[in-house]
């Protein structure tokens, strides 16, 4: 890997750059999903999350896990996986996870 082409910039570098641009373009949908999951977790912690929204939030978490990992945001992907599992179970620790997600969302690159 890391084959440097005659152009001086490797294909990987160029692709990472393009990936960054895709991320920036699609950032709003991801941020929105993060906040959906975060709200659901908070509601769950408060004990007022119905089954319907809970499953919807679980699916959002599932998608987040995939896309964040694909962008290379490993930590975000792991947090999303935790959320997915939690939204399927009894909800223990939902409040803490909601807080961690909120904190994490702030670290995602904006440029």
């Amino acid at each position: 890997m890391g084959v440097t082409e005659p152009g001086g910039q490797s294909r990987e570098d160029r692709s990472r750059e393009l990936l960054r641009q895709v991320w920036l373009r699609n950032r709003p949908t991801t941020m929105e999903r993060l906040s959906v999951v975060q709200s659901a977790l908070e509601a769950m912690a408060a004990g007022n999350l119905d089954a319907g929204p809970r499953l919807a939030a679980r699916d959002e978490a599932h998608k987040l896990r995939g896309i964040l990992g694909t962008y290379g945001f490993a930590e975000g992907s792991e947090l999303a996986a935790e959320a997915e599992e939690l939204l399927e179970g009894d909800g223990a620790g939902a409040g803490g996870l909601a807080a961690r997600l909120a904190g994490y969302a702030g670290t995602l690159p904006t440029e």
Binding site: M1, E5, P6, G7, G8, Q9, R11, E12, R14, S15, R16, L18, L19, V22, R25, N26, T29, T30, D59, H62, K63, R65, G66, I67, L68, G69, T70, Y71, S77, A81, E84
Partner: protein, 907 residues
């Protein structure tokens, strides 16, 4: 001695009479002479070179006399009789001893004796001591008696000739007797005249039984003599002998194969056939033995269940056994000789793609690579139907050169089916075992832990034995299932990027407890980097090797796991310092249930399936596992997995990407051009100066030069001028890309190969891109690449996938946000392959797949699942579905294009 005297003496000697005892036949003559002529002495004398020898004498005891001046010496001088009435009166004889002394002879009469050749060899003569006259009648009598004596001389001559002949015959006989081969002579009527002992022995006769035998008696009854006769009749004396193979008849009645050599001679006008005969029994038996062997080999070939074909160096069939014909679906009378084996029956790979002769293992055999054995290919019968074969090709080597090959093949269709059934059986049985085993293990665990109440010491020990034995059984069942699933291809590779150090750490963690209990340290030497593998399977492979290494290490020893990066592969070595593996076991160790020591299964808790699983996993990854081991010093197992995809090619064409050299002194513009061109499937090199342009062109041989006229060092004219001097570059196409309007003179100075001009407009690179693609032969059509459809309900994933596949692979990508939309697009667009998310609302992956598979128009379009780790539990179910592979989510955008190509076999 004159010549006449010489001949006379030879004639005398050949009589063989000198110095022989007196003979009655001569004495009879001398007695008669004595009586008739009334002389006391009568003799037959032979006149030798220097003496007179008396063959017969009457009235004297002398046996010989000095030749000089004797009467007889005188007598043989003439044919006339010599008569001397009184020697004392004859000057020739008066002084002779016999006259002057005892016996005082006075009268003599002698007649010469002629031998058969007319030579006078001696005399018949009479003497008297008294002078006397011999009358004419008396001399006639003496002459008649001389004729009688001459008759006796002739008989002597004949006897001598016979003796000589006897001697010659004796030598001939000795010679004949000594000849080991039978020699015989027949007369013109076929009667046996003579035969040597070898001949007697050959035919079984004693020498006293051969007289009167005929040729018919010596030949077997059914020998057609008449057929032989014409050959013999034409034979003339002096002709080369005729050679025949016939059956002789032995005296005992048996049959003897013989070779006879017949020549003809004429003896005294009579025909004689001289026949030499040689016993062919041994030779014929050897011949029969060879024939039998040949027939047996033929039978083996005929009877062999395997197809066997011999081919010449060009691959043309020179022989084929009946099984080969049967397997090819040919009748016995269908011509097969001269048919090209590969082109007719092996022309395609199992997937139907062309199988070039140069790639065929038999081709390698014919070109010195030695025997080849292939287990997983197909031959195509005469009806074009494939059948699974195992085949081997072995070279035919004569005098060190390969003169052909023998190809042996078996139809393994049925065997494959049986293997599949066996594996499925193992799989089902193991599945069925697992459930009760789990409850047995659980119950025993509860018992042994004391959770159900305390046990007595014996019962506790028994319970622990039961637990550990059950654990072993569970491992065995699990390993059996794993091996069966991997080998049957039920487990599909889910390739994804994995950090090498992560892989090593996880594997070490999996065996941590075991290592601690064994007191063995596991030391890791990872490398940086990502490897694209099925993480679960690769982890299992490494962990299997680690657990083996720990089992066979002593307490306090260390096991090393060393990763190394190579140009196109990654290797992971697991090194132990245990007892090692004997050389004779090293080949078998990867086969199921081949433990070094049969007690290992009990003592070390192995199932005998760990290494086979490792090997299967590596093979599935296109890698390998190898072993170096020194008994007593330890073993090193090396896993190797390929890391670099092959050289990128324009899809479907298999040709390398064209190379374009951009000569442009504005580094930013050069980079923009390079990026946009690379996106269109072109490799780009950049040169900023005249000198670097010329050097680079010589090195990379560009397919096209995009040339700016104004450069910071040198200029475009200089580049063209320099390249015109190189025959290799003088025809290189040039696209002059300049901000200046050029006149005709300037333009002609920029001509190299096909040359075009484009004005820099500042309005983006599109016109340039199109021009470049046309000039390097990549029109819009060629540039399109394979079309993929990505179906994922997350549009962001679709976005990233499209980016990754289009930027890093030769693909154009469409995306669909749901199963329904995907179906519609698939039917509309007919993509070359589909990437399908498993987990989607409404129509999920498997349901979409079922609908896709239900569409005839989409038959054969391969589908890859995009599946998240969470669905690994469903893997069993997903793996049974008709997909070409799986890609783990989240995927690495940098390797996605390569992974897709690999899974779809698009290399």
């Amino acid at each position: 001695m004159d010549a006449d005297e010489g001949r006379r003496l030879r004639a005398l000697h050949s009589l063989g009479l000198l110095d022989t005892p007196p003979e009655e036949r001569f004495d009879r003559v001398t007695r008669t002479a004595q009586r008739l002529l009334g002389t006391p002495i009568a003799m037959i004398t032979l006149v030798d070179a220097d003496r007179l020898w008396f063959k017969s004498r009457q009235g004297t005891s002398a046996v010989q006399a000095d030749k000089n001046a004797t009467f007889c010496a005188q007598a043989v001088q003439s044919d006339q009789p010599l008569a001397v009435p009184d020697a004392l009166d004859d000057a020739r004889f008066a002084a002779h001893d016999m006259v002057t002394g005892d016996p005082f002879l006075r009268a003599y009469a002698g007649v010469p004796l002629h031998a058969a050749g007319g030579h006078r060899v001696g005399t018949l003569c009479v003497f008297s001591p008294e002078p006397r006259t011999f009358t004419a009648e008396e001399l006639d009598v003496l002459r008649d008696l001389a004729r009688w004596a001459e008759g006796e001389l002739d008989r002597s001559e004949l006897a001598a000739a016979l003796a000589a002949q006897r001697e010659t015959e004796g030598r001939l006989r000795a010679f004949m007797d000594a000849v080991p081969e039978a020699v015989a002579m027949f007369d013109g009527d076929g009667r046996l005249l003579q035969v040597n002992p070898a001949g007697e022995r050959l035919f079984g006769y004693r020498s006293d039984q051969v007289a009167g035998l005929t040729i018919d008696a010596l030949l077997a009854d059914d020998t057609e003599l008449d057929e032989l006769r014409p050959q013999l009749a034409d034979l003339a004396p002096g002709d080369p002998p005729v050679r025949l193979e016939v059956d002789g008849r032995h005296a005992g009645g048996g049959r003897i194969p013989i070779e006879v050599i017949v020549s003809k001679a004429t003896v005294d006008g009579d025909d004689r056939y001289v026949v030499a005969a040689r016993d062919l029994t041994e030779r014929r038996q050897a011949h029969i033995a060879v024939e039998r062997l040949r027939r047996q080999q033929g039978l083996v070939l005929e009877a062999a269940a395997e197809g066997i074909c011999g081919i010449d160096p060009d691959g043309l069939i020179v022989f084929a056994n009946p099984s080969a014909r049967r397997l090819f679906g040919l009748a016995l009378e269908d011509p097969l000789d001269g048919v090209n084996l590969h082109e007719r029956f092996h022309q395609s790979y199992p997937d139907g793609s062309p199988y070039p002769w140069e790639e065929c293992p038999t081709y390698r055999t014919l070109h010195g690579a030695g025997p080849q054995r292939i287990a997983d290919e197909v031959f195509w019968d005469s009806g074009g139907r494939p059948f699974a074969v195992e085949y081997a090709s072995a070279p035919i080597v004569e005098d060190g050169a390969v003169t052909g090959a023998v190809v042996t093949f078996t139809d393994v269709t049925e065997r494959r089916a049986v293997e599949r059934m066996k594996n499925e059986f193992v799989s089902v049985v193991s599945h069925e075992l697992r459930t009760p085993l789990t409850s047995v293990r659980g119950s025993l665990g509860l018992l042994a832990s004391g959770a159900l109440g305390p046990l007595g010491a014996d019962a506790q020990r028994m319970a622990e034995v039961a637990v550990s034995s059950t654990d072993r059984l569970v491992r065995l069942v699990n390993d059996l299932l794993d091996l069966e699933r991997i080998e049957s291809g039920k487990v599909q590779l889910t390739l994804g990027p994995v950090a090498v150090d992560r892989l090593l750490r996880d594997a070490a963690a999996a065996v941590e407890g075991m290592a601690e209990r064994a007191g063995v340290a596991v030391r890791l030497q990872p490398v940086e980097g990502i490897v694209n593998v099925d993480a679960d399977q690769m982890l299992q492979a490494i962990a299997n090797l680690l657990s083996n290494a720990i089992k066979f290490s002593d307490r306090g020893q260390a096991v090393d796991v060393v990763a190394e990066r190579h140009v196109a592969s990654l290797s992971i070595r697991v090194v132990d310092r245990g007892r090692g593996i004997p050389a004779e076991m090293q080949d078998r160790i990867f086969e199921p249930f081949q433990q070094v020591d049969s007690s290992d299964a009990r003592e070390r808790g192995g199932t005998g399936l760990g290494l086979p699983i490792v090997r299967s996993i590596l093979i599935r990854h296109g890698g390998e596992v190898t072993l170096q081991s020194t008994p007593g010093a330890g073993s090193t197992f090396t896993l190797t997995v390929p890391t670099a995809p092959g050289r990128e090619a324009v899809p479907g064409e298999g040709r390398p990407r064209p190379v374009v050299m951009v000569v442009e002194d504005d580094a930013d513009l050069a980079e923009v051009l390079a990026v946009s061109l690379r996106r269109r499937g072109v490799d780009v090199v950049k040169a900023l100066t005249e000198r670097s342009a010329v050097t680079l062109a010589e090195r990379v041989h560009p397919d096209l030069i995009v040339l700016d006229v104004v450069l910071s060092e040198g200029d475009g004219y200089g580049v063209v001028e320099a390249l015109r001097r190189h025959p290799a570059h003088a025809r290189t196409p040039v696209l002059v890309y300049t901000a200046h309007n050029l006149d005709d003179a300037q333009r002609s100075r920029l001509h190299l190969g096909p040359t075009e001009f484009l004005l820099k407009s500042g309005a983006g690179g599109d016109p340039l891109e199109e021009k470049v693609l046309t000039m390097v032969g990549l029109g819009a059509a060629e540039q399109e690449g394979r079309r993929l459809l990505v179906i994922d309900d997350d549009p962001d994933i679709g976005d990233v996938a499209r980016l990754a596949l289009e930027q890093l692979g030769p693909y154009t990508v469409q995306t669909a946000g749901s199963g329904q939309e995907g179906l519609r697009l698939a039917l509309d667009q007919r993509p070359d392959a589909i990437l399908l998310d498993v987990m989607m609302p409404e129509l999920d992956g498997p349901a979409t797949l079922a609908r896709l598979r239900g569409e005839e128009a989409l038959a054969g379009v391969p589908v890859l699942f995009l599946t998240a780790k969470a669905q690994a539990s469903e893997r069993d179910r997903l793996e049974r579905l008709p997909v070409s592979g799986m890609i783990a989510k989240p995927f690495d955008p940098l390797t996605l294009a390569a992974d897709v190509g690999r899974l779809l076999g698009w290399g």
